[in-house]
Symmetry: C2
Subunit: 283 residues, 2 copies
């Protein structure tokens, strides 16, 4: 990547803050835009960004060679509808959003001549939020997914791949937006929906003294950022509903085996799950 | 505990083997009965037991002051119906079974005069099986649950408590059989039913390269001993079916919120699950 280019982070949350920190450490010029004055000031005080603004930021947007949007999908789309025309020709930008369908194409359609949006998703777990916790995020074991469309150039795809490497990602892959959202509906969102449902099913806190590792592992992700996950679930709801239905089908089959007292049916499910789970251990 | 007493382990599997090992190390006289000749020989060769038999074991049973049954519930009930009359007056014995209702009362009813069954459950996770893996089991972080009935004496309850301490358990509690089975239906069996259903829902092995810690944690227990868990699920099926229904109610509520696009409803579930899960972290 070219160190003479100016980087702009819009949205200095946990991920936006981490991008700012890593790019600054690597020697890039990084500015920031953030809604909250306090978090912007924190990023300035800690040297994550060189300059920053909460409003009247048109000059920062127009001067950026690369922009990274650390915003939720709804906020990103609204921001771009308002300010997207300010991006200069030659600007190549990306996002961090956990859903892509319904977001990438509308934004690409709004891009002016010579402006290119190459979408990507850093699959970094986050039980905390805010720029103050950004330094704790470790990108090395996480997946970085690039989701190009037919509108993207090989140069932009290569830029975002190098960005991911600079940020410390070791697993960088490419999927279509539809593939990405289907995958994320199963691998991440369904798991969170299950953990949340397990905790909401009844008031089980009196049982905490009897719980072992199984229960703790299963419900760790039930501690969840309510705003962010409601957003991600709703943006991907068709995929998530399909995954819930498929999961529920398997659970109802297990229940039917129980009601019938079908020992062989249960054992067959257990052998199938054991076989499939073993494939995940090899990686 | 009295070191002049003779201990007998019936069923030298993972847990029976671990009990034999720890009692022998602590200086007790431990004999063993096992169906498989090879595993019995392994326990003898490795000094887990002093003597052992696969059949014609009436003298070992009649000579035992304390017996520990390391058998699945169905096998335990059948064994006791056949050989239970051999236990001598004064014999106090326990089991390791993961379900209690329908097991403890019938066996207590079969006990001769002066013979006492005090049931208990070492809640030790096991992804492996067999006496050869017994030494790997760590009892210290696990819960040991004693499930007395109105037929039990304070002396027998005290004996099994000291047994648990000798075995290395640090968390020893008491529940009724009904409380135990309801608790285990939620804390353990429902979690396993969910993990198995998640793996059986579709052939997801191609997604393994995209999975993170959330998915791995959630499905770790989908590697499951098919015979044992079919047994445990069927013995506790009324409780487990009730738990599945309650969990499914919460999952369907989440799905209904998704279909309606009810952001506030989703956020409320997420805040509830976050609050409840936090209670489990404190312990």
């Amino acid at each position: 990547m070219d160190k003479s280019k100016k980087y702009l982070i819009v949205g200095l949350g946990l991920l936006g803050g981490k991008y700012a920190l890593e790019l600054t450490k690597a020697g890039y010029h990084v500015d920031g835009i953030n809604r909250s004055e306090a978090n912007l000031q924190w990023a300035l005080d800690n040297g994550y960004i060189r300059t920053g603004k909460t409003h009247d930021f048109e000059d920062l947007v127009a001067g950026a060679d690369h922009i990274i949007f650390g915003l939720y999908p709804t906020a990103l789309l609204e921001w771009f509808q308002t300010y997207g025309h300010l991006l200069k020709a030659g600007c190549v930008f990306t996002d961090v959003s956990g859903v892509k369908t319904g977001l990438v194409e509308p934004i690409q359609a709004l891009c002016g001549p010579g402006v290119e949006f190459i979408a990507s998703h850093p699959m970094a777990g986050r039980e905390t939020s805010g720029v103050q916790h950004a330094a704790e995020v470790n990108f090395a074991p996480a997946n970085f997914i690039i989701t190009p469309t037919e509108k993207n150039t090989p140069e932009a795809i290569e830029w975002v791949r190098q960005l991911a490497q600079t940020l410390g990602f070791e697993h960088i892959t490419t999927l279509s937006c539809a593939e990405h959202d289907k995958m994320i509906g199963y691998v991440s969102q369904l798991c969170h929906a299950i953990a949340v449902s397990l905790m909401c099913a009844n008031d089980n806190t009196s049982l905490s003294e009897y719980t072992g590792d199984s229960f703790r592992d299963l419900t760790r992700i039930a501690r969840i950022n309510d705003k962010m996950w409601a957003e991600l679930f709703l943006w991907n709801r068709d995929n998530l509903i399909a995954e819930i239905d498929q999961f529920d089908g398997a659970l109802q089959q297990l229940k039917a085996d129980l009601i019938r007292g079908d020992r062989e049916g249960l054992e067959e499910m257990f052998r199938l799950s054991t076989r499939r789970r073993a494939a995940f251990d090899k990686k």
